[in-house]
């Protein structure tokens, strides 16, 4: 897979995107996991939960499990001294199923202990887990480790699922292993006393996907509804992820335009007007940030949009400044139409690079539009 070839990359993105449904969500983060990041991710999940049709009880269960799952990553963080090794968070919602998957480096010497702990939890019934949780609360002081243990028990108990996990060796460091951990929650889950077996394929898929993320150095990907609230959380997350510099401020400014562009212009193939499905990637290559965003667009808009991108691409620095000036002073246009193109003019002015773009025709009505900018 060649991400620098926009036509190939756009086909790949489409393969990840095409079966999205309303309220589906996929959020992938690779990097340092901080408490601020966790709270932003939880907020992002919360807005999506609030928009879902799930009952209050289901929502709060999902929210709790997400919080516990994400906190596990920070608990183990200090164990590895290797700062090169990022943690991974994948939150996926597909129809009636939420999946929260985390990946983080841990010391190999801790593996057998961890395995024993999880396998022990998996061998219990829900009522046994309830007693076990009480026992831990009573007898153990909530040290770091005790807290982690209780967290796992609570996750198993509330999700009604066995905990699935896997490990992966790391080439660069023989003392470290990646620990992948997955929790699934069914919104239509029927309570039984026995924990259900889970499909381990998903975890293997995530493991593979993590390799792709590492190869391409993808920092974040979001697939879902690009409403204003989600856009603001994404901006917060990215701002926290990149230390402030002239370059990252530029990246942030351009991100705002790219993300709001999706929320303004994205079309929708299943006739639900109030949601704007889109997918977005940010990766870092050779010291440069690459932003890629895709969404559906009506075929009838394709020629106008590609003309305006071509126009902006053809202009030099001074011409862009002049066009910016004309557009910003032209008030009539803003009120009558959204298609000022001021957004893309602004982006080009800031980053001074041309856009890569691609239209993939989906059917008689829609195309899949991908826009990429290198900063």
């Amino acid at each position: 897979m060649n991400t620098s070839n926009i036509s190939d990359f756009s086909k790949y993105i489409y393969s990840l995107f095409h079966d999205i449904n309303q309220n589906d969500l996929e959020y992938i983060y690779k990097g340092d996991v901080t408490p601020e990041l966790i709270s932003n991710i939880l907020n992002l999940a919360k807005t999506n939960l609030a928009n879902s049709k799930d009952t209050m009880k289901v929502r709060s269960r999902i929210y709790f499990i997400m919080g516990e799952g994400l906190q596990n990553v920070t608990r183990h963080k200090d164990e590895s001294d290797n700062s090169e090794l990022d943690s991974l968070i994948v939150i996926n919602k597909k129809k009636e199923k939420y999946a929260i998957t985390t990946g983080n480096p841990i010391k190999k010497e801790g593996i057998s202990d961890l395995k024993e702990k999880i396998d022990n939890i998996n061998s219990m019934s829900v009522s046994e887990l309830r007693n076990f949780a009480r026992y831990i609360r009573k007898t153990l002081k909530l040290t770091e480790k005790g807290g982690a243990s209780l967290g796992l028990v609570e996750i198993a108990k509330r999700s009604g699922n066995k905990l699935t996990y896997t490990f992966k060796d790391i080439e660069s460091d023989a003392s470290i292993s990646y620990f992948y951990f997955n929790t699934e929650i069914l919104t239509n889950h029927i309570k039984t006393d026995n924990l259900r077996e889970k499909d381990t394929n998903y975890l293997e898929k995530v493991k593979k996907f993590h390799e792709f993320l590492n190869e391409e150095n993808i920092l974040l990907s979001f697939k879902g509804d690009f409403n204003q609230e989600n856009v603001l959380y994404l901006l917060d997350i990215l701002k926290g992820q990149m230390p402030a510099s002239t370059l990252t401020i530029k990246v942030n400014n351009i991100l705002i335009e790219i993300l709001q562009n999706i929320s303004k212009h994205a079309d929708n193939i299943n006739k639900i007007t109030e949601w704007k499905p889109g997918i977005f990637f940010i990766h870092k290559k050779d010291g440069k940030f690459i932003l890629t965003a895709s969404n559906y667009i009506l075929n009838s808009k394709v020629s106008e949009l590609s003309e305006s991108i071509e126009l902006v691409n053809s202009l030099d620095k001074q011409e862009i400044k002049n066009l910016y000036k004309t557009k910003i002073l032209d008030q009539e246009e803003e009120i009558s139409s959204k298609k000022t193109g001021l957004g893309i003019i602004d982006i080009k002015k800031r980053c001074k690079n041309n856009f890569n773009y691609n239209f993939l025709k989906i059917d008689n009505k829609h195309s899949f539009f991908t826009l990429q900018i290198i900063i």
Binding site: Q228, L232, L235, A244, S245, T246, I249, K250, N252, N253, I256, E257, Q260, S263, K264, K321, Y324, K325, I328, L329, Q331, E334, I335, T340, L342, G343, D346, R350
Partner: protein
Amino acid sequence: MTPLILEPTADTPKIHFDANKGYFEVANLSLPEDAVEFYKPVMAWLNEYKQNPNSLTTFNFNLEYFNTASSKQIIQILLLLENMHKINKVLIRWHYKDIDEDMQDLGEEYDDIIDVDFEMVEY
């Protein structure tokens, strides 16, 4: 004139206009989906102030970032101030973080477009 004070939100700026104290500030960030709607009361207040402005209006833009939809509204504020400047003096103070090249560039560009004194304030 009653001051106009709008507290900042996750996507709209802090607005603090107080004619008696001679204090005018737009701060934080501005990313509303509907910028025209948000700036309506802001423009209305300024239009009223323009009828009888102070002899000197020092106007502070202290924004961390804003979207292009907001930039169209900011230009409208600047054009109004330019108009006011023909009779009563206006000074625009454009604040930007030392590492924020974009915000500095924007201030310089708006300075070119608008015929009012701009003071670039690095922080």
